[in-house]
């Protein structure tokens, strides 16, 4: 998988490309819009990550041109500008996703994966993490064969954590996916719900599945097997 990263901030570009390479993606960096356009024009990329505020050719213009040339390549827009309209404009210009800086790297990876997968993953209805098991259709959860009753919010939280097993998910990501942006100010809402979820799926069992990563977020994984 080859990714084109168009980003003029050298440090951001380095940080992002290093992280993506460690996830085994090939990353090309373009430091301005014109180079970005030349590269997007020359090679066939599987994904374009594009910063909107670029020297030379403006990010929006580049976005429009890339989209005109290749209707299928997924485009993830990054921006440090704060304006409502840029979000709307970006989607109108053909962006597939939009991420405002600063972001947790895990968030970027999750989005990149989702974009490269194009559409829902081959999610089987039954999810297993260690001896935890749940059915996405009936929303029934059990661990070690023991039925566990979850509230709808607790279930949504578990479902989201389980969709990215082994990956640290930040509170912001969790709030945005399980609640919505209006709840973003309430970081402790995640902690409270995670605590309640833990009380049901972890506390009664010797092996803990939900891990807290200080400063980063939560991770759901069967540590024994990973």
């Amino acid at each position: 998988m080859r990714i084109l990263l168009v980003e003029d901030e050298r440090k951001v570009a380095e940080m992002v490309s290093r992280g993506l390479r460690s996830e085994r993606y090939a990353v090309d960096i373009a430091e301005n819009g014109d180079t970005g356009w030349a590269m997007a024009h020359t090679y066939d990329y599987d994904l374009v990550i594009l910063d909107l505020g670029l020297p030379g050719m403006d990010g929006r213009e580049l976005l429009r041109r890339v989209r005109v040339r290749n209707a299928k390549v997924p485009i993830l827009v990054l921006t440090a500008r704060d304006a409502t309209e840029s979000k709307v404009e970006s989607f109108e210009a053909g962006a597939d996703d939009y991420l405002t800086k600063p972001f947790a790297f895990a968030e970027l990876v999750v989005r990149v994966k989702a974009l490269l997968r194009r559409g829902p993953a081959n999610q089987s209805n039954v999810v297993r993490i260690g001896d935890l098991e749940f059915d996405r259709l009936t929303q029934q959860v059990s661990r070690g064969g023991q039925r566990i009753e979850l509230t709808p919010k607790e279930y949504a939280l578990l479902d989201y954590l389980a969709a990215h097993p082994g990956r640290v998910l930040s509170r912001t990501m969790i709030v945005e996916h399980v609640w919505d942006q209006s709840f973003e100010g309430l970081t402790n809402i995640v902690d409270v719900y995670v605590r309640h979820l833990r009380a049901k799926i972890d506390d009664p069992f010797p092996v803990k599945l939900i891990r807290t990563v200080r400063g980063a977020g939560y991770r759901l994984a069967d540590e024994a097997t990973t």
Partner: protein, 469 residues
């Protein structure tokens, strides 16, 4: 009709001025016409009197009074021509007086005698006892013998007075017409003159911060309105500059703050991912990451506030049920209250429709409930109520929390304000939550108020305009 509009006032002034001018001119006309008619009549009488005196009376000693009288009768036939003629001797006795006139317009015998010592020629307006008046001219005829006669010739003032009355009636009748024409004319003139002003006003009203690049049409008329529109356009240009400067500043500030934050967060995450890191160092990095995240959130909230203040609040503008929104939002937060053993009661059963941006209004509910939960001790309660009151949608969040000291109440909606760091039972957040609530309410044409008593709790009340229909 707006009685304070320039149009109305101009029309009124126009009418008043016209009426004043008309009244003054009318009075002058009336007076001078009367004067002229009186003078003309008197002059005619005077001429006759002089004629009689100089052609007949001077010869009276020779011809005898009887001849004079017969001459007067035959030459002037006063009764037939409705004229008054009287000839008096020097001693005041009457030598001749004409009979009652044909038209009975006066009674000759009722005309008072002319007093002695009158000038050689005089005129007067003689009032009669029956209320009628006579215009009389007298002439003193000195004969060679020196026994002077006085001859008086008069005619009824009635026709002149009738004419003057007619003129007065005409003027009086003309007055309302003048008022009407002046008012209507003034109104129409003012309307024509002010039409461009109205146009300017409508165009100016349509210019908001979203279309500051537009300008008012400038009429190339060289008049005051051209000056006004040019001046307004200059003002809009200055506003446009100020707005785009502040927009650019916000965008630049955002970029300058967010870019290094991205790098710091990324590098710290990278470091923390190192499996060989000693746990105390991992902890310190985690702590730094927590603060980076907090800083990121503060930056985001600040920019959200500045966007709200710049009037860019509305990503959408729809009719929505505030009660249902508050109910659904609180559902998602109940565990927070439960976790602190706070009882939540809700009164959100009847729909209250308002216009607005769903995400923003949801933010209001989230921030208010979060605030209430934060400042309420375990065992307390929070009441959420949405209802209509005096044509407004009202959302109330009342808690039995620690309350706000009276001196801090006016400040709770200020940015970064926190009553007391110790009071914050869960010390996260930057003190922007209620400032955001206020900005959202204001952007929706509403308001937020707070009542509070230390120790017994606070009540925050959001008031929003109801959706039409």
């Amino acid at each position: 009709m707006n009685t304070r509009s320039i149009r109305f006032r101009l029309a009124a002034w126009h009418a008043v001025l016209f009426v004043a001018v008309f009244a003054v001119l009318g009075a002058l006309l009336y007076l001078s016409v009367r004067q002229y008619l009186d003078d003309t009549l008197l002059e005619t009488q005077g001429r006759r009197a002089r004629q009689i005196a100089e052609t007949l009376l001077v010869n009276a000693p020779r011809t005898g009074e009887a001849y004079v009288v017969s001459e007067i009768k035959s030459l002037y036939s006063p009764e037939l021509s409705n004229r008054f003629i009287r000839v008096s001797r020097a001693d005041g006795s009457v030598a001749y007086v004409s009979g009652p006139p044909n038209d009975q317009s006066f009674d000759p015998s009722g005309v008072p005698a002319l007093g002695p010592g009158t000038a050689a020629a005089s005129t007067r307006l003689q009032k009669l006892d029956d209320g009628r008046s006579l215009l009389v001219a007298s002439f003193r005829a000195a004969t060679a013998e020196g026994s002077p006669y006085v001859v008086e010739v008069g005619t009824s003032a009635e026709p002149v007075q009738r004419f003057a009355r007619h003129l007065l009636v005409l003027l009086a009748l003309g007055l309302p017409l003048v008022v009407a024409v002046a008012a209507a004319g003034g109104y129409l003139l003012a309307r024509r003159a002010l039409e461009p002003v109205e146009e300017l006003a409508v165009k100016a009203e349509n210019i908001t911060q979203h279309n500051l690049s537009e300008r008012l049409p400038v009429t190339d008329t060289g008049d005051e309105l051209e000056r006004l529109s040019v001046a307004l356009n200059l003002m809009i240009t200055r506003l446009d500059d100020a707005f785009s400067n502040s927009k650019r500043f916000v965008a630049d500030a955002s970029h300058e703050l967010r870019t290094p934050l991205t790098v710091i967060q990324g590098e710290l995450e990278n470091l923390a991912a190192d499996a060989h890191l000693p746990s105390d160092q991992r902890d310190r990095i985690g702590s730094a990451l927590e603060d980076v995240e907090r800083l990121g959130k503060t930056v985001q909230k600040l920019f959200a506030l500045s966007r709200l203040d710049a009037g860019e609040a509305q990503e959408e503008w729809i009719r929505l049920d505030l009660a249902a929104l508050a109910g659904a939002t609180s559902d998602q937060m109940l565990l927070l209250a439960e976790d602190k053993n706070i009882t939540v009661t809700r009164d959100v059963g009847s729909p209250v429709h308002v216009m607005g941006d769903r995400a923003r209004l949801k933010q209001v509910v989230v921030n208010l409930l979060d605030n209430a939960f934060k400042y309420t001790r375990p065992g307390g309660s929070v009441h959420l109520k949405v209802h209509e009151a005096s044509g407004r949608g009202v959302l109330e969040v009342a808690d039995t929390g620690v309350g706000i000291p009276a001196e801090a109440v006016p400040l709770v909606f200020e940015r970064f304000f926190r009553v007391d760091r110790d009071r914050s039972l869960e010390g996260d957040g930057a003190g922007l939550g209620l400032a955001i609530v206020k900005s959202i309410c204001v952007a929706h044409g509403g308001r937020v108020d707070v009542e509070s008593a230390v120790g017994s709790g606070s009540r925050l009340t959001v008031t929003l305009p109801l959706a039409a229909g």
